[in-house]
Symmetry: C2
Subunit: 308 residues, 2 copies
């Protein structure tokens, strides 16, 4: 039982380091990944990593009257928006130098696998109230949200945000920016790269401070190992259907800790649904998934116990 | 006495229209412009106009988990920042099609006049805590802040603005954008132009609504008329120094109402200092300027009365 996941599991890695012998194992199983949907159990063999940084731009001591100063001084919001706007090009590619250098391309079997998954784009976008696809040219929506790196401004602020109008040149602006990473991108190298790139894109007339919030390694588990085959059989037995093989778009940082410290791969066999509203009001777990999941978990223990 | 200036003087234009005969005059004098500085009285012969619009981008029904959706859906903040970032190019020029079409170029005497004004850039930027000049290539700081049109994002917001990190794809983002205009730019045409341009710059995957907040006409008063000469003599008598001729960077919308409805020019003979903290805490008016201003106003009445 590890109760610190939502704060980055600060105690877990030291614990793993101190107790390698006690924790010796063949494989690790975690139930923290979703099914593909109702009637579509899944095993996740890849996870995205994360780098999360925050920028703060200061252009003057305080906000300035735009009639008296506008045009002759740097506007913190203008210059930050301009810099952030240049981080993604018109084709949806991230422009940070070196960003894609270490990205492992999707293999042919993976792209075939993605293409075979019954993805209903219309229903997907309707479910979130979006008008349609948006993202990196050359990839499907499923590939974009699970197997390709991203850059999202998670929040931005600066100047006057109230009702009506206020004619100021904002002195300060800030933004939080996170990037979902894929194997083998290094979260710390990517953090350095975006830091340097944004500062390069800003004019000399402003100061910029950068805070790093979080880093998580991307993960790729061998998709065709004997352990994976055992997990596939266990889920088929529990759910009455063969599981899909998927990559997941989120991050589970302890998976890379297990790999790095214990040298163990992880089977990501989770039983929730994508629309269970994780971390949101009215989060749920369907009873039918609970029952099938119990069966699958029992079968998994049996499969792994009989493996050698 | 007109007490509605700060809310856009909604009653004044109808009053002018109804009482043209009663208001018949030779010239109008307004004291709402600054001196250039202590020991530098000034007459303002130009004012910038204003167009103020607000954009609201909606990309989805609510914020989305960046691990589950990031990369495959439009991020409201990313796309708005990208669009806003494209409104000014690397040379500080506004990129909105037609933006400069109606701009009256500065005349040679004006540029000579600007060059002769004792402007201390180092002190100017130090006084506001800015690192140095920033703006449109080819123009001095004084020209940029008084005689050239601008585009300032006055405020921006979207996504998570609190402490720490939250890995969301923001569904909504907004920004307030104002442009200071110069003769003969039309505030309504410019509002239309930026509206169309921003919508063009946004992807089809998002919706954008636009609100117009305010419009003010730019103003240029004949700088070499007999009235202007009378005002110059009056200020020289009141302050003991010849006034500088300046354009002002702010807007006084009633000046264009007086011109349009009463067909009268306005002498902008104000006595405050640029650092009097207009509209701010600790606003002031120096006693020395009050006394000199009283004298100058009396001389101005005398000069104008004896004019013909």
């Amino acid at each position: 039982v590890e109760g610190e996941e939502e704060i980055g599991s600060p105690s877990l890695a030291p614990f793993l380091n101190e107790h390698r012998d006690m924790l010796a194992a063949d494989i690790i199983a975690i139930s923290d990944s979703p099914q593909y949907g109702p009637e579509f159990p899944a095993i996740v063999y890849g996870l995205r990593g994360l780098t999360y940084v925050e920028f703060h731009v200061q252009a003057a001591r305080g906000d300035l009257h735009s009639g008296l100063f506008g045009g002759g001084v740097a506007n913190a919001v203008n210059v930050l928006a301009t810099a952030l706007g240049k981080l993604i090009d018109d084709d949806g590619h991230v422009t940070i130098p070196g960003f894609y250098d270490d990205v492992l391309p999707l293999e042919d079997w993976e792209r075939d696998n993605y293409a075979a998954i019954p993805f209903d784009g219309k229903a997907f976008f309707a479910s979130i109230g979006a008008k349609g696809p948006h993202g990196e040219a050359g990839y499907s929506t499923l590939e974009r949200i699970t197997a390709r790196p991203t850059l999202d401004v998670n929040g931005i602020w600066g100047g006057y945000q109230g009702e009506g109008s206020k004619t100021i040149v904002p002195a300060e602006a800030g933004a939080k920016v996170s990037m979902r990473l894929v194997p083998n991108q290094d979260p710390h190298r990517i953090a350095e790269a975006i830091h340097k790139h944004v500062v390069d894109l800003l004019p000399d007339s402003v100061d910029c401070t950068v805070t790093e919030h979080a880093h998580a390694e991307p993960v790729l588990v061998p998709a065709h190992s004997d352990f994976m085959k055992a997990a596939q059989r266990a889920i088929a037995a529990g759910f009455g259907r063969d599981p899909l093989l998927l990559r997941g778009g989120g991050s589970i940082p302890i998976v890379s800790d297990f790999k790095r410290i214990l040298e163990l791969d992880t089977l990501l066999v989770g039983f929730g649904q994508p629309d269970d509203a994780l971390h949101s009001p009215n989060e749920r777990f369907r009873l039918v998934d609970f029952h099938h999941g119990c069966l699958a978990a029992a079968h998994l223990l049996d499969e792994l116990a009989s493996k050698d």
